[in-house]
């Protein structure tokens, strides 16, 4: 079965960084001969309900999400809770579809997403689903700020991962590593980045929005306690 259920677990719904990335994986899936995927947004009630219903009949499921307070967003956890009845059939051969994941975060290093990746791998095991792997990518918020052209290499790699999913039901390790980018900073890099983070220009994305919204002067307020 070359059908793919593409689930966007971003609370932002269709206009999310997760969806931008998932779309590129889907392009690769189709390029390798897969059927056009059914795309559902878990943040939308109808999409959530359909995603629960469609899970068992999908050939493969790709669930993408942003890292939210260091784990999955609540809407994704609600979806996982809704899959609990599928655990009972986990050991029936082929009862549950192959499962792949995408986790993107605003942090520049991939290490922040690794505990969630470990959880998702265990989830596939719990459901008796063949595990396709987890695409991890940092620096997600900059996708909003950058023109699409600037992300061309990333899009190309995500398409390759989509092709691998369609062909092998498994993401390739080399591509996963390339997409993940920096795992962590070396001590020298950390010292350098510490200085760089102090430059106002680095915060241009947030500062621009704070100023546009007339909130710049209030950016350090602490309404529930003593400010730092």
């Amino acid at each position: 079965m070359n059908s793919l259920l593409l689930l966007n677990g971003s609370p932002r719904g269709p206009r999310s960084n997760s969806m931008k990335m998932l779309s590129r994986v889907a392009e690769g899936w189709v390029r390798a001969g897969g059927q056009a995927p059914e795309v559902l947004h878990l943040a939308q009630r109808a999409g959530f309900d359909r995603a629960v219903e469609a899970f068992s009949s999908a050939g493969a499921v790709l669930l993408g999400m942003p890292l939210y307070t260091d784990s999955m967003p609540a809407v994704v956890m609600a979806y996982i809770e809704a899959l609990a009845p599928r655990v009972a059939v986990a050991h029936a051969d082929g009862a549950n579809p192959a499962l792949g994941f995408l986790v993107q975060s605003g942090f520049p290093e991939a290490l922040h997403s690794r505990p969630l990746e470990r959880y998702l791998q265990k989830l596939a095991l719990r459901l008796g689903s063949p595990y396709a792997g987890t695409i991890v990518r940092g620096g997600g918020e900059s996708l909003q700020a950058m023109p699409d052209e600037a992300n061309r290499r990333l899009w190309a790699r995500l398409r390759v991962l989509g092709e691998q999913l369609a062909r092998d039901r498994r993401f390739g390790e080399a591509e996963l590593k390339a997409v993940a980018g920096r795992e962590h900073f070396s001590p020298c890099q950390a010292a350098l980045v510490k200085l760089i983070f102090k430059l106002p220009v680095v915060q241009f994305y947030w500062n621009g929005q704070l100023k546009k919204n007339g909130a710049w002067e209030r950016r350090f307020v602490a309404p529930y306690g003593l400010a730092k």
């Binding site: 609370p11 996982i80 609990a84 290093e109 950390a190 704070l210 209030r218 350090f220």
Partner: protein, 183 residues
Amino acid sequence: MRITILNGEPEAASAFDAYLHEIAGRLAEQGHAVTTLELRELDLKGCSGCWGCWVKTPGECQKRDQSATVCREAIGAELLLLASPMTMGFTTALLKRAADQMIPLIHPYFEIEGGEAHHRARYARYPRFGLLLGAAGGSDAEDLEIATAMWARMARNMKSKLVFTAVANRSAQEVADELAAVA
């Protein structure tokens, strides 16, 4: 010690709920100021990733719900106890919804801390974190380890530490005593 408990149990009449209330009662008897937020009774709309709490009304969620109560009680505590039954190898979506709406407590700017990028603090002090998990069928030691790892990372991003982890397989008194000891 000021202790805030976020109760992520969706069912009011469960054994875990009764157990948690017993722990809260024992802590209060010992003289601690305990506030328990029954998350299932709060109107929490969930984070929609609008970043309004970072770039429009800094430090405050723009949703008209009770997430401000969660933020106020969390930052006002010395110990924040996250309590939840285990479900599908993790804590409940209900607890996660409350946690997701705690991002106004930190600042969008990044800084380097311990060699990693983390969010800048908004507050002068943050509560230490504790985790109390209901022992559920179908969860194993690895699930506990993974759940603990994810919440420990959240504590770190909230400029804090996870200082206590327990599974609900010991007496309420024992858990209350241990919690009091981390004060």
